[in-house]
């Protein structure tokens, strides 16, 4: 409602839960009149005409809470967040500043209303009574001392429970069974008998209902935030002076983090630009360089996020990484403001084994990788991972991050590779002997040298077998085919747009310099012939 005030005049329901099990979490008055109530399923209300639906948004709720906090903090420094929608203020000593208590309460409600929040306020001698009254009565309520029980008496017992929890549901059910609907009913129960039945929790609730409870306020603490900010007097255009300023900010950030024995794994740089430009909304996780988001909707702001594989705390390294990153992705306009935020994490333990081989330092490795990526492109750095597919040569790039060395694992890997070698040998034995037989010699054909890129050829067929190849690009690779084995047929990814199907032939060609063995491939979808490689 705060974000979309036009919804106030319509029927609105807020949904919670995952599809298809969404249920109504809250409704406004108009919706309630249309017969919609919390707990109904989405399916049930689908037919309800004119009903606006919104999904519950926790970020928006916490934003509203934060706005409310901002609002009340201007009235009192001692503020307690008593729930996601409830705030308690200590107004002791405020009277000389803001006037009598009811006036302050009205002022708070007015201020909140200006922020788009509908609120109720109550003033009472103790925090809990104030909370109950604010929950139960709309507008502003002032409860004079000594009149708590009387005034609270007419409220329903539900106001005792701010957040729905299992325990409160259980107690509410008991009250409902007992026919205790108002705080007055609860207040009237005999203490001892109640204590025998509901224990101290019951007594506590009864005291709340009587307004006969006192406690100290628990004020909130400001959140831990590591953020540095510079507003420039004149716009910056060159990277060098920017680097200088970034260096200063980073040093301050690192010093603050260090003071709290923290490090960081994520740095966010936000540059406000003089005349912003817009780019497409790209937020692709690019594992190769650790850059999470490319400029996203940079109308005025230019943002970069640097994610590191390990927690670090070295301002020079950070600076170098930021420089490299900005070189690859320049902001594109003069800079007027710089904001740098670090996500605090616990630092890594840096002790390595005494007798272990040294691994590259993560800081240096990260720098090197960033440098390489700057030259060859972000998606071309990393380690190869072979894909589990029949498609020949299927691979993808992975971010290069050596695993921390552990002696046990080292031994295990050694054993495993030994086993694999043995196993491969025995698997291929019959195959090799067969190939040996086919080639008519004892020489093993073991290696295939792949041509990159492959070599296009023209092929003449005879009796369903390739008989002659012509290669305009390379005369050495053409001639009569003396012998051909195949076709070896494979196809796959038929459910994708880029499905593939191919026939392979192993051929011996009589070239000008002698007999050569090639792997000849026919792309059955593209209808093209090419040589994929040569056998040693």
């Amino acid at each position: 409602m705060r974000v979309e005030p036009e919804l106030r005049s319509k029927s609105l329901a807020v949904l919670e839960g995952k599809a298809p099990l969404q249920k109504i979490f809250a409704v406004n008055e108009n919706a309630r009149r249309a017969g919609v109530s919390p707990g109904m399923t989405k399916l049930q209300i689908e037919a309800c005409a004119g009903l606006m639906l919104r999904a519950r948004s926790l970020p928006q709720e916490s934003a509203a809470h934060a706005a409310l906090l901002d609002c009340v903090q201007s009235f009192s420094p001692r503020v307690e967040a008593a729930g996601c929608d409830t705030i308690v203020l200590d107004l002791a000593g405020s009277r000389p500043l803001f006037g009598p208590l009811p006036k302050i309460a009205h002022a708070i409600v007015r201020r909140a209303s200006a922020l788009g929040l509908e609120t109720s306020a109550a003033v009472a001698g103790n925090p809990d009574t104030a909370v109950l009254a604010a929950r139960g009565f709309s507008g502003v309520t002032v409860i004079p001392n000594g009149k708590e029980a009387e005034q609270l008496g007419s409220l329903p017992v539900e106001v005792l429970f701010g957040n729905p929890a299992q325990e409160s549901a259980r107690l509410l059910e008991t009250f409902s069974r007992w026919g205790i609907h108002k705080l007055r009913d609860l207040a009237a129960l005999p203490d001892v008998a109640l204590s025998e039945r509901l224990g101290q929790a019951g007594i506590h609730l009864q005291k709340l209902a009587r307004g006969d409870i006192s406690r100290t306020l628990v004020p909130i603490e400001p959140p831990l935030s590591f953020e540095e900010f510079i507003e420039l007097e004149y716009p910056l255009v060159l990277l060098e002076p920017l680097a200088f300023l970034l260096g200063r900010l980073l040093e301050q950030l690192c010093a603050r983090l260090e003071a709290r024995a923290l490090a960081t794994q994520e740095l966010r740089l936000c540059l406000e630009l003089e005349n912003g430009w817009q780019t497409e909304n790209l937020s692709i996780n690019n594992g190769a360089t650790g850059i999470l988001a490319r400029p996203a909707r940079a109308r005025q702001n230019f943002e970069r996020t640097l994610r590191l594989p390990v927690p670090l705390l070295d301002s020079r390294i950070f600076l170098k990484l930021l420089q490299l990153d900005l070189k690859a992705h320049p902001p594109g306009a003069p800079i007027v403001k710089i904001k740098l935020t670090a996500e605090p994490v616990r630092p890594r333990a840096a002790q390595n084994g005494l007798f272990l081989p040294p691994a590259p330092e993560p800081e240096k490795l990260e720098l090197t990788l960033a440098r390489i990526a700057g030259i060859v492109g972000e998606d071309k750095v990393g380690s190869l991972e072979l894909l589990d597919t029949h498609r020949p040569g299927g691979f993808r790039m992975q971010r290069f991050a050596p695993e921390p060395f552990s002696p046990q694992r080292h031994r295990a890997t050694e054993k495993k590779s030994h086993f694999l070698i043995q196993k491969n040998f025995s698997v291929s034995e019959p195959a090799l002997s067969a190939v040996r037989g086919c080639l008519g010699g004892d020489d093993l054909v073991t290696a295939l040298r792949i041509f990159r890129p492959s070599v296009d050829v023209a092929v003449t067929m005879q009796d369903g077998k390739p008989a002659h190849i012509t290669c305009p690009r390379n005369k050495e690779m053409q001639g009569e085919i003396l012998w051909a084995a195949g076709p070896w047929r494979s196809s796959g990814d038929w459910w994708e747009q880029e499905g593939w199907a191919r026939d392979e032939w192993d051929i011996a060609v009589q070239g000008e310099i002698g007999i050569a063995l090639y792997r000849l491939v026919r792309d059955r979808l593209g209808r093209r012939w090419f040589l994929e490689g040569t056998y040693d």
């Binding site: 599809a19 017969g35 919609v36 049930q44 029949h390 034995e429 195959a431 002997s433 047929r489």
Partner: protein
């Protein structure tokens, strides 16, 4: 010439992508004379393969790929040939492989079934492997191939090289005999496979074994490889994208033509020639199955037939002894005719076995009644198998048994659901042995929803998209034209032009009707003379100790295996319980077989449609038909039971029949030749038999063809069959000169029966139960209602409605009381009988109706109370520790603890508690206050809480029991209702037709049947009865939320009273604020 001898169908469950019928069709297309089906670890698809092949005149060879444990090192060969190394290799290989086995003789088939049974019965579903010694034991009559990529040869080559492979093949030759082992070669254009082939050829040459070319078929055509890949992904719980090399490398495992195969194996012509040679050796087919129904043991000097005659004669005396001599004579003639046919078809044993089963039930006091076509037989009636007198009802015996059909008769037995039915099944097992009886399977096939879900998952849709698309797909009618699905996709917010969604749609269609896995049929049992495991492999069922065969009941019927259906029927249990209650409480013995046949109370109740709780005639649709049909005799009930079915409704037969019955429309027949067939039902076909006879008379169908029609009608896989039959019907009718209009009418009748229709005999059996339930309700209301409540959930109405209906009929219903209630509802002698009360018997609700109360806790209450009555709530809590706090709270809240009287501290006056007092005490009693103070706990005294008001009691009753035994919620508001101009339900019969009025009450049932074009039917209950309202589609659209969720409604509209069928055609609906109690309705959408 080439014959494919290694193929899998979709019955290899997720390893093959074509139905057996499609394999045969492809085989016929390629002019191949024979084919073998080798499904994984079973012969699941073989009956369908056999039947399709028989039709296409192709020879169907049977076999299976059997999972085997790897062989242990050969012990019996010369030690000099086995080096330690090889032995150790063998020892290491504890894996499994698939051994393709072909059946060459009946003995071979029996061996195959036993092998698979042994393996299946000792392991979990989908697991298990045959052991070497079992192969040795059951090798006779089987021919073994060396297998493809998961066969023994590949396995041995991969792990032990050439030497190990040689050892393995020699072992196979030792087990099966050298002449029965073929070295299998397949060519799918793989390098590794070709290397393997070279090794195999070399070995075959050196061991002098024949080579055999096969193509290891997994699908009929290359296109189906896609589906096979999807199945692979599903089997491994992956998506297609993550399945990687588990998927097939190419699409070569389709059925190739002999020319293609010859070209592939041009270098090895003997491998092709051997397929023909091997095919000629495979003599076994399913014609030669060797099934025998168990013989019934008779004493010496007697034959089964003479024994049957004797039992029939005895039964005849009982059944017809008191009948008129004319009926006796007709019955005698009919029985003689039937017995002659039974003798001729050698079926005496079968009848005796069913008789024995029924006899067992009688002995054990288990209610039993035969249904289905058996009710057409006078012999079955005499033997007590059925309760319908086929002679006096002139039922058609040929529908049950005909010489021409050559099929075993079908006898279905209705039994009380639950434990009693279990006892009968157990009896069959003990009588025929573990391997002599088994349940039939139920093949679970891909239907729209499961197809949509699994295909989407395999394509890697995220859960949200999956929900969207499956919601869009599940409503598709697959045979419909394509122009609707883009619509549905758009509705779901999806772009169906997206290639992946198109692929998804294709896959969903392709997978329809393919088997997914094997389930268990609810009541079908097969029994066998010898060992059933030599007829069909057996598998463990979900219940320990039970076995299930690999075929479903259609397959069993196709192969001539007799099955007995033991069906659990809730109403049978109600009848049985009622009889017991009547016996216990009234000391009367009611014999259902000898109920007064024309009880006037029963018929007048039926005519008034006062039928809540009665079997088959209680639904809203039945109730709206009863006053028009005005049943006056038993046959009218038979018609009544059969007429309100989707078949007659869609076939537009209901109205013409009722109009003719009321004399408002002349009786005429579609064609004069059909008069004898349709005379009894006034020219309107209502029963399945009539439609079969119409097909025979009008379209010259033979008995066999009519039988085919019958099976197509009640058959899941029948779309194509029905189309085919429709064409034949038209040709036949054209020949007989039947007019186009009449043809259309007949076709409509027959095709709508495919939806659902009753055979007359079946309707008659049901009508008997309906009559019995009506009789018991009319004369023993308390016992019947108690039994009905004790067998919930069943029937059309909620317990709350049943209770209110019984109360309106004068039954006193007492609330749950821990001092008196048993677990089940019981009968009590009521101290105060109401004015209307027929007797002073009252019904006491059982503890089972206290929501959330577990049975063991309930039984513990009953046990403890039997020892001594509870003196206080604390006493109850202490003596029944099983009770949890929530259960105690529920009991207190519904007033079940009110009668626990207690003495106060002074030890004198006793206090009667109200519900809140009890709740107050429960809260105290469940809190353990420690050893010191526990003894000092306070007695049950009045609490500071105020008693519940009527509304609160209502809310508590509905929350705690789902009903109230107090006044109907509407009763509290009658004055207000009257002020609003709302009429009582009981008033409506006195108000003239066409008057605008208002009714209101609790919605007990909402229906929006598929046959009613969007109309909604509401049943609205108030304290005087149930009124009906009809809501037009546009009114429903406007008030959808209200109509589908409101508990109490006011309906304003025009009263329609046609032939005493009363309803209100709604024009306006409004919610009524009556109570916060959560009443519930039975909704059908």
């Amino acid at each position: 010439m080439y014959i494919e001898l290694h193929s899998r169908s979709a019955f290899s469950f997720l390893e093959g992508a074509s139905l057996p019928e499609n394999l045969i069709a492809a085989c016929a297309n390629l002019d191949m004379p024979a084919m073998a089906l080798l499904d994984r670890d079973g012969v699941y698809g073989s009956p369908r393969f056999h039947m399709a092949a028989k039709k296409a005149r192709i020879k169907a060879h049977i076999g299976a790929e059997v999972t085997c444990e790897y062989f242990s090192p050969p012990r019996y060969r010369g030690a000099e040939r086995i080096t330690d190394y090889k032995a150790s290799v063998s020892m290491r290989l504890r894996g499994e492989f698939r051994l393709p086995l072909l059946v060459s003789s009946r003995l071979g088939y029996q061996n195959l079934c036993r092998l698979i049974t042994k393996m299946k019965l000792r392991s979990a579903k989908g697991e298990g492997a045959v052991r070497e010694e079992e192969l040795l034991e059951h090798a006779a009559g089987l021919i073994c191939l060396t297998g493809d990529h998961d066969g023994p040869l590949t396995h041995a080559l991969a792990y032990g090289g050439m030497e190990e492979a040689r050892v393995c093949v020699e072992q196979l030759a030792d087990i099966f005999g050298r002449e029965n082992v073929y070295v299998e070669l397949q060519r799918h254009f793989h390098r590794e496979q070709e290397a393997r082939n070279h090794a195999a050829i070399e070995m075959a040459r050196s061991l002098q074994l024949p080579l055999l070319a096969t193509n290891g078929i997994s699908y009929a055509t290359a296109r189906e490889r896609e589906l096979c890949d999807v199945f692979t992904a599903i089997r491994h719980h992956r998506t297609l994208a993550t399945a990687g090399r588990l998927l097939a490398r190419n699409s070569e495992r389709y059925l190739k033509s002999p020319q293609e195969m010859q070209a592939l194996f041009a270098d090895l012509p003997e491998a092709i020639a051997n397929t023909v040679e091997l095919s000629s050796r495979l003599a076994f087919t399913f014609k030669d199955l060797g099934y025998e129904f168990p013989k019934y043991p008779v004493s010496e000097g007697e034959t089964m037939m003479s024994f049957l005659r004797e039992r029939t004669r005895e039964g005849f005396q009982q059944r017809y002894g008191r009948s008129s001599s004319e009926l006796q004579e007709r019955a005698r003639r009919q029985i003689e005719r039937e017995l002659k046919l039974i003798e001729k078809l050698d079926l005496a044993g079968y009848f005796l076995i069913v008789w024995d089963l029924v006899h067992f039930c009688r002995r054990e006091n288990i209610l039993v009644q035969g249904r289905g076509s058996a009710a057409n037989s006078a012999v079955c009636y005499s033997l007590g198998i059925t309760a319908v007198d086929a002679v006096s009802m002139e039922l058609l015996f040929e529908r049950f048994l005909s010489e021409e059909r050559g099929e075993w008769p079908d006898i279905d037995l209705d039994l009380p659901s639950g434990d009693q039915r279990e006892r009968v099944i157990q009896y069959l097992y003990t009588r025929y042995g573990e391997r002599g009886a088994a349940m039939t399977a139920n093949v679970i096939t891909y239907r729209s929803r499961m197809a949509a879900r699994e295909m989407g998952k395999a394509l890697g849709f995220d859960p949200e998209t999956l929900d969207k698309v499956s919601a869009a797909v599940s409503t598709w009618e697959y045979r419909d034209d394509n122009d609707t699905f883009d619509h549905r996709f758009r509705d779901a917010g999806l772009d169906w032009k997206h290639p992946r969604l198109r692929k998804y749609f294709e896959l969903c269609i392709a997978v329809q009707d393919l088997p997914r896995h094997l389930g268990q049929h609810s009541g079908g049992m097969v029994i066998c003379q010898g060992q059933l495991d030599s007829i069909v492999p057996l598998e463990p069922a979900s219940m320990p100790g039970r076995v299930v065969v690999q075929w479903d009941k259609e397959d069993c019927a196709d192969l001539g295996i007799i099955k007995v259906d033991l069906l659990g029927l809730g109403m049978m249990a109600v009848l049985e319980d009622s009889l017991q209650l009547i016996h216990d409480h009234h000391g009367e013995e009611v014999d259902l077989a000898h109920l007064p046949p024309d009880d006037p109370t029963v018929y007048s109740t039926l005519q008034k449609a006062d039928t809540i709780g009665m079997f088959q005639v209680e639904s809203r649709a039945q109730m709206s038909c009863l006053p028009r049909l005005q049943p006056k005799c038993f046959y009218d009930i038979v018609v009544q039971v059969a007429i309100i079915r989707p078949g007659p409704i869609v076939g537009q037969m209901v109205n013409p029949y009722l109009q003719r019955r009321m004399g408002r429309e002349p009786v005429h027949h579609l064609h004069p030749s059909l008069e004898p067939v349709l005379k009894r039902t006034l020219g309107v076909p209502l029963f399945q038999e009539q439609l079969l006879r119409i097909a025979m008379v009008a379209a010259n169908f033979t008995g066999g063809e009519a039988e085919e029609l019958r099976r197509a009608m009640g058959f899941k896989r029948s779309q194509a069959r029905m189309k085919d039959i429709e064409a034949r019907l038209r040709t036949g009718m054209e020949k007989n000169g039947i007019s186009r209009d009449a043809q259309e009418q007949i076709i409509l009748s027959i095709t709508s029966f495919a939806l659902y229709g009753f055979p007359e005999s079946h309707a008659a059996s049901f009508a008997l139960i309906a009559y019995a339930s009506a009789y018991l309700k009319c004369h023993y209301l308390a016992a019947f209602t108690a039994a009905l409540l004790n067998n919930q959930p069943m029937g059309f109405y909620r317990p709350a409605t049943i209770v209110k209906d019984a109360q309106r009929h004068g039954l006193k219903v007492l609330p749950i009381d821990v001092m008196r209630s048993e677990w089940q509802c019981t009968l009590e002698q009521s101290a105060v009988s109401t004015q209307q009360s027929v007797s002073s018997t009252a019904l006491r609700l059982g503890l089972r109706y206290a929501r959330g109360l577990r049975e063991d806790a309930g039984q513990a209450i009953v046990q403890q109370r039997a020892l001594a009555p509870f003196t206080s709530i604390r006493d109850l809590v202490h003596r029944v520790p099983e009770l949890r706090k929530d259960e105690l709270n529920t009991l207190a809240e519904i007033g079940a603890l009110n009668e626990i009287s207690s003495r106060n501290i002074a030890g004198h006056a006793s206090t009667k508690l109200h519900r809140r007092d009890a709740l107050w005490q429960v809260e105290r009693a469940v809190r353990y206050s420690g050893p010191l103070l526990d003894e000092l706990s306070e007695p049950d005294v009045n609490s500071p809480l105020r008693p519940m008001d009527p509304e609160e009691r209502l809310v508590a009753d509905f929350r705690g029991t789902g009903m109230t035994v107090g006044p109907h919620p509407m009763a509290y508001h009658r004055q207000r209702m009257e002020a609003m101009g709302i009429h009582k339900a009981s008033d409506l019969s006195h108000i003239p037709d066409g008057q605008r009025l208002r009714i209101g009450g609790c919605i007990i049932c909402r229906q929006r049947p598929g046959t009613a074009k969007g109309f909604v039917f509401l049943s609205i209950e108030d304290e005087t009865g149930v009124a009906n309202a009809i809501v037009m589609p546009d009114l429903f659209q406007k008030n959808r939320l209200l109509l589908s969720s409101a508990q109490f409604l006011m309906v304003e509209g025009i009263l329609q009273n046609q032939d005493n069928v009363i309803s209100v055609k709604a024009e306006r609906v409004m919610p009524l604020s009556i109570t916060r109690a959560e009443t519930s309705s039975h909704d059908f959408y």
